[in-house]
């Protein structure tokens, strides 16, 4: 018995598979796996893209739940147990992402001059905190909210350093990808000094379970 490396869970036994990749089907849920040498489990740029390439090829043939990079199970039997015990959960999650892709958005604001009070003082700290909260709320309403309207689901977080940055993930119907990109383009132009990047389509990494974003 040897360890298996999990690439993804899908609902469709893929027709075209690279030689070193195998599938296990349990009740309509398909685990796509292979084996990896230790050095292939190092999170290098090349290894990450290799994982991504397999997942992307699966997306052409069915709904896909990508596995986190580096997921290794002890044996095919373990994978079977996992697929069996979580069959309903995976089926629901696959239904949710079917026909949809993930788009990523990063928006970076120019450095703002934060409240000019020493952060060490109690009042300075509070003023700074308030300003950060306001900036995050502005970022969310100006970038995230209009984009979320075009998505089935979304997640967002806002970083305050090294500059105000909004990182959003959007689950979008395939047919709406262009519309989403156009809206991102429109926002980038409307917001001027905000640098906005839209990447994807990605496999739905951020939408593999119901719990994550609730």
């Amino acid at each position: 018995m040897s360890a298996v490396y999990l690439y993804a869970i899908t609902d469709n036994r893929p027709q075209r598979l690279p030689e070193e990749i195998d599938v296990l089907t349990v009740d309509g849920i398909v685990g796509v796996y292979g084996s990896k040498a230790d050095e292939e489990l190092q999170a290098t740029e090349a290894n990450l893209w290799a994982h991504e390439a397999v997942v992307e090829s699966l997306m052409e043939e069915g709904a896909v739940l990508p596995a986190r990079f580096g997921t290794v199970l002890q044996s095919v039997d373990r994978l079977r147990d996992e697929l069996m015990s979580r069959q309903e959960e995976f089926a629901r999650a696959l239904d949710r992402v079917r026909g949809r892709v993930e788009l990523g958005v990063r928006a970076a604001w120019p450095q703002r001059v934060l409240v000019d009070m020493p952060a060490e003082s109690g009042r300075g700290y509070l003023a700074r905190k308030l300003e950060q909260q306001r900036a995050a709320a502005d970022a969310t309403s100006s970038v995230h909210e209009p984009l979320a309207l075009l998505a089935v689901d979304s997640t967002v977080r806002v970083l305050q350093s090294p500059c105000l940055t909004l990182i959003g993930s959007y689950l979008v119907d395939r047919g709406d990808v262009e519309r989403f990109r156009d809206e991102a383009e429109r926002l980038a132009q409307a917001l001027g000094e905000v640098r906005l990047a839209c990447t994807g389509p990605w496999p739905p990494y951020s939408f593999t379970s119901q719990e994550e974003q609730r």
């Binding site: 999170a43 090294p162 839209c198």
Partner: protein, 61 residues
């Protein structure tokens, strides 16, 4: 690049987005599973790329 344009093809941003997704998202299988320890250097690289892409953004302005 002038301001107000959508940055979509920047490879460093794409790499950050890839790292974010593959190491932090995706299906996690429970039970007797080994999640291979992510290479610390790459995570550092990822952060550096993130920072440098922000710097590039600043310079472009």
């Amino acid at each position: 690049m002038s301001s107000g344009e959508l940055v979509s093809a920047d490879p460093s941003i794409t790499l950050v987005e890839l790292v974010d997704r593959l190491l932090d998202k995706g299906v996690v299988v429970s039970g007797e599973v080994t999640i291979a320890v992510a290479d610390v250097d790459l995570i550092r690289l990822g952060l550096r790329v993130l920072l440098s892409s922000v710097e590039t953004i600043e310079k472009q302005r």
